[in-house]
Symmetry: none
Subunit: 109 residues, 2 copies
DNA sequence: CGTGTAAGGAATTCTGACACG
DNA sequence: CGTGTAAGGAATTCTGACACG
């Protein structure tokens, strides 16, 4: 992956309407998750929100957790522990990852 | 680079306003280059144009050529000869495989 | 040829708030 | 808590056209 290609994932260029289409979440939900500090879109000069592909993936992850009844507060805690999902997936064996983070999720239910 | 990451470049999610900011081209110019068949954005359900990062790069390339006095029809001719620089780079690495099976399209939607 | 602009309509986004619970 | 919605304003996007040349 070149530097240029890497930046595609982090560059914030997607408007909220498109993010809504991509994630299936309502704009209301997307804005609320921002209010709860789960995502951090940029703002264009005119003030409209701009999201990256990385943000879209984070939102889909959030959507899955919400379905499982996880609260926004808990999701935020979780994200502090694993700041970069992608790096972890690459460097950790899935078993190790579950051993460390998976159990907590299961125990809550 | 994973399949998912590759798709970032081809996925059409950027509105014309953002493309204008990224390329420095006016919306008028961007629409005109489409009219001249130099770029091919998707359309959202409501009819707004959606561009990919690949389109943005193509537009910057077009902008450079226009500065050099190249006409749109000449640019189009040129593009037919080299359909996609990035795809070429990729296919050169894969060598014989592409020679035999052709370039695979990115999975989208 | 390539691009600016005014025109009018339709769709988007934003914020703060009320509602349910 | 999480999300829907009505509200009003501001900014966006679209198309077809006139202009210059």
């Amino acid at each position: 992956m070149t530097e240029e290609e890497k930046s595609y994932k982090a560059k914030k260029v997607i408007t909220i309407g498109v993010v809504s289409e991509l994630t299936g979440l309502s704009e209301r939900q997307i804005r609320y998750y921002e209010e709860r500090q789960l995502i951090f879109p940029d703002r264009s000069q005119r003030g409209t929100r701009k999201y990256s592909f990385g943000d879209v993936e984070t939102l889909m992850d959030i959507a899955n957790q919400m379905e499982d009844g996880v609260r926004t507060f808990e999701i935020r805690q979780e994200m502090k522990k694993k700041p970069d999902q992608e790096k972890l997936k690459r460097s950790m064996i899935k078993g190790q990852l579950n051993a460390r983070f998976g159990i907590q999720n299961n125990m809550r239910k």
